[in-house]
C-alpha cells in the first residue's frame, strides 16, 4: 500500500461513498415499472440533474488517464480535444442542430429514428455497428481503471483483476435493477464527489508544483509544440480536423450523450443540458492534463522503471497515477480514490445501460413478434446489462492496449461515429437520403477503422498502419461515410425509394 493511503482515514471515506452510492442506486429501483422508465427514466430528467449526469458519465478514470497521458505527451496542446468538444456541444445545444428533431421524434435510441426514414434493416444494422463500436471502446475501461487504483494507492498489482471484478459487480448490481433511474441518481452523487476530488487535487498540485515549474517542464520537453497543437509534430492540422469530426459526431450520436437528450423532459431542457455542460468538456481535458504535466515536471527519469511488468509497455499512461501516489496526502487520498471510483462507476453504469438499450430496442426488435409485457421487457433488459458486464470483464482482461489510449478510444468510436453522424444529419436535413446511402455509409464508415485496428496488430502491416496514422485513418472514415451516403442515395432509383 502507498504510505499515503491510510485504511482507517481514506478507507472510511471510500467506504462511505460506496455505501451511499449503493443505497441510492438500489433505493430508486422501486420507481422502475416499465421499459421506458428503465431505459430513459420515464423522460422526466430536468436540467441540473441532466448536467450532473452527462458530466459524470463522460468523465471516467479512462478519461482522466487519457487526458493526463495527452498532457504528459503533448503538454497543454493535449487539451485541444476538450476545447473542440466544448465548442461543438455549445453550438449544437444553442442551435438545436439534429438534437431538436431527435428529441421531438420521441424515440428511445438513434437507430429507432433511422427506421422511420431508412427502414427496419438500417435500424438493425445501425444498432449492431453502434454496439460493436461502443463495446470495443468500453472494453478497455476496466483495466485502465484498475491500473489507476493500483498505482495511485499502491495496491498489490496482482489484485488488479480482483479490483476490476469488484468494481464491475458493484456497478452492475444497481444498473441491472434500477436502469436509467439508478444511473441518474447515482450520477448526481458521483458528480459531487468526483468534482470535489478533482478540484481539491488540482489546487494541491498547483500549490505544490507551481505554474512556472509546469510551464518550464512543457517548454523543456515539447518546446512550442507543447502550447500550440499546430506547432507539435505529433498533432498538426490532421489531428485538429479529426478532432473536429470526432467531437461533433460524438456530441450528435454518442449513445451515452444522446441518452441524456432522450431522457430529458422536453426539447428545450435537452438543449439547456448541452449548453450548460459544454464548458465541462474543457475541464475534462484541462484538469487531468494538468496532472499529467505535473507528473512530467516532478517525476525523476527512472520513476517509471519501477512500474509492474504488465504496465511497462505504456509508461506515459501510468505517469500520472504514479505521481499522485507521491504527492496526495492521507485524507485527500481517500477523497481522490472516492472521486475516481465515482467517475468510473458513473461511466460504466451509463455505458452498460445505453448499449443494452440499443441491443434491446434495435437489434432484438425484429425478433419480437408481439409487444413484450413490462415484466418480460425489464427481464430481457436486465439480462443484457448483465451480459455486457460479463463481456467487459473478459475483454478487459485479455486485450493488450498498445500506444496512445486516446487514439484507441477515438478509433473504436469512429467505427460508428463516422457513419451514424452522417446518417443522423442526412436523416434530419437531406430529403434525397435513402436506405442505399445509409447502408453504404455504415459499411464504409466501419470498415476503415476496423481495418486500421487489424493492420496495427498484424506484423506485416503494422508499419503501414503507423505511417498512415490514426488521425488520417479516422478522417478517411468520415470522408468515406459521407461520400457513400451521397453516392448511394443518388444511385437508388427514386421510384423504389
Amino acid at each position: 500500500m502507498s504510505p499515503h493511503f491510510d485504511w482507517l482515514v481514506d478507507g472510511s471515506i471510500v467506504g462511505l461513498y460506496l455505501l451511499a452510492t449503493m443505497f441510492a442506486g438500489l433505493w430508486v429501483r422501486r420507481y422502475v415499472t416499465n421499459v421506458e422508465s428503465y431505459l430513459v427514466a420515464g423522460r422526466e430528467m430536468n436540467v441540473y440533474l441532466g448536467i450532473a449526469s452527462l458530466a459524470a458519465t463522460e468523465f471516467g478514470i479512462i478519461t482522466c488517464m487519457y487526458a493526463a497521458q495527452a498532457g504528459y505527451k503533448y503538454g497543454f496542446a493535449g487539451a485541444t480535444p476538450g476545447i473542440v468538444q466544448a465548442i461543438a456541444m455549445f453550438a449544437i445545444g444553442a442551435s438545436g442542430f439534429c438534437v431538436k428533431p431527435l428529441r421531438d421524434s420521441g424515440v428511445m435510441t438513434i437507430p429507432e429514428l433511422f427506421e422511420r426514414r431508412f427502414g427496419s434493416r438500417v435500424r438493425q444494422i445501425a444498432g449492431i455497428v453502434i454496439v460493436l463500436g461502443g463495446l470495443l471502446n468500453m472494453g478497455v475501461f476496466l483495466r485502465v481503471g484498475g491500473e489507476f487504483l493500483v498505482l495511485a494507492t499502491g495496491l498489490d498489482p496482482n489484485a488488479l483483476e480482483l479490483t476490476m471484478t469488484v468494481l464491475l459487480l458493484l456497478v452492475a448490481v444497481y444498473t441491472v435493477f434500477g436502469g436509467m433511474l439508478s444511473v441518474l441518481v447515482t450520477d448526481f452523487l458521483q458528480f459531487i464527489v468526483m468534482s470535489a476530488g478533482l478540484v481539491a487535487v488540482t489546487v494541491l498540485i498547483l500549490y505544490k508544483v507551481g505554474w512556472s515549474h509546469m510551464v518550464d517542464a512543457v517548454e523543456q520537453h515539447h518546446g512550442a509544440g507543447g502550447f500550440d497543437p499546430l506547432a507539435n509534430k505529433d498533432l498538426g492540422w490532421t489531428y485538429i480536423l479529426f478532432q473536429i469530426c470526432v467531437q461533433v459526431a460524438a456530441t450528435l450520436t454518442w449513445q451515452t450523450v444522446i441518452a441524456r437528450v432522450l431522457s430529458a423532459k422536453d426539447t428545450p431542457t435537452a438543449r439547456r443540458v448541452f449548453t450548460g455542460t459544454s464548458f465541462f468538456f474543457v475541464c475534462r481535458f484541462i484538469i487531468p492534463g494538468l496532472w499529467g504535466i505535473a507528473a512530467l515536471a516532478m517525476l525523476p527519469p527512472d520513476a517509471l522503471d519501477l512500474l509492474p511488468e504488465s504496465m511497462r509497455g505504456n509508461p506515459s499512461l501510468h505517469a500520472m497515477p504514479v505521481f499522485l501516489s507521491t504527492i496526495v496526502p492521507v485524507g485527500l487520498m481517500g477523497l481522490l480514490v472516492a472521486a475516481m471510483l465515482a467517475a468510473d462507476m458513473s461511466t460504466d453504469s451509463s455505458y452498460m445501460l445505453t448499449w443494452a438499450s440499443v441491443i434491446y430496442n434495435d437489434i432484438l426488435a425484429p425478433f419480437r413478434k408481439k409487444p413484450s409485457s413490462d415484466k418480460r421487457g425489464l427481464l430481457v433488459n436486465r439480462s443484457i446489462v448483465g451480459a455486457i458486464g460479463v463481456f467487459l470483464l473478459f475483454y478487459g482482461l485479455w486485450y493488450p492496449l498498445e500506444g496512445d489510449l486516446w487514439t484507441y478510444c477515438q478509433l473504436t468510436g469512429t467505427i460508428y461515429l463516422s457513419s451514424m453522424s452522417v446518417l443522423l444529419i442526412a436523416c434530419c436535413y437531406w430529403k434525397r437520403a435513402n436506405s442505399w446511402g445509409a447502408l453504404a455509409a455504415i459499411v464504409f464508415g466501419a470498415v476503415i477503422p476496423i481495418a486500421f485496428l487489424v493492420m496495427e496488430k498484424l506484423p506485416s502491416t503494422a508499419e503501414f498502419a503507423k505511417t498512415l496514422g490514426g488521425n488520417t485513418s479516422g478522417l478517411l472514415a468520415f470522408a468515406a461515410a459521407a461520400l457513400a451516403m451521397v453516392a448511394g442515395s443518388l444511385l437508388k432509383p427514386r421510384s423504389t425509394a
Binding site: 422526466e44 440533474l49 450532473a52 441518474l184 441518481v185 448526481f188 470535489a196 498547483l206 450548460g276 474543457v282
Partner: protein, 49 residues
C-alpha cells in the same frame, strides 16, 4: 503584478477551476430538487404506489 507565462493557458486553467467549483455548488443544490421532482412525477404516474 507580474503576468503569468502563457496567459491563455493560465486563464483557461483558472476559468476551469472557478467554473467547475461554481457549477458543482449550484448542481448540489438545484440537483436535489430535480431528483425529488423526477421521483414525484414517476410516483404520480404510477398511481402513487
Amino acid at each position: 503584478m507580474k503576468m503569468p507565462s502563457h496567459p491563455f493557458w493560465w486563464a483557461l486553467v483558472a476559468a476551469c477551476l472557478i467554473w467547475y467549483s461554481t457549477i458543482t455548488l449550484k448542481i448540489a443544490v438545484r440537483g436535489v430538487a430535480d431528483v425529488r421532482g423526477m421521483l414525484a412525477r414517476l410516483r404520480a404516474r404510477s398511481g402513487g404506489k
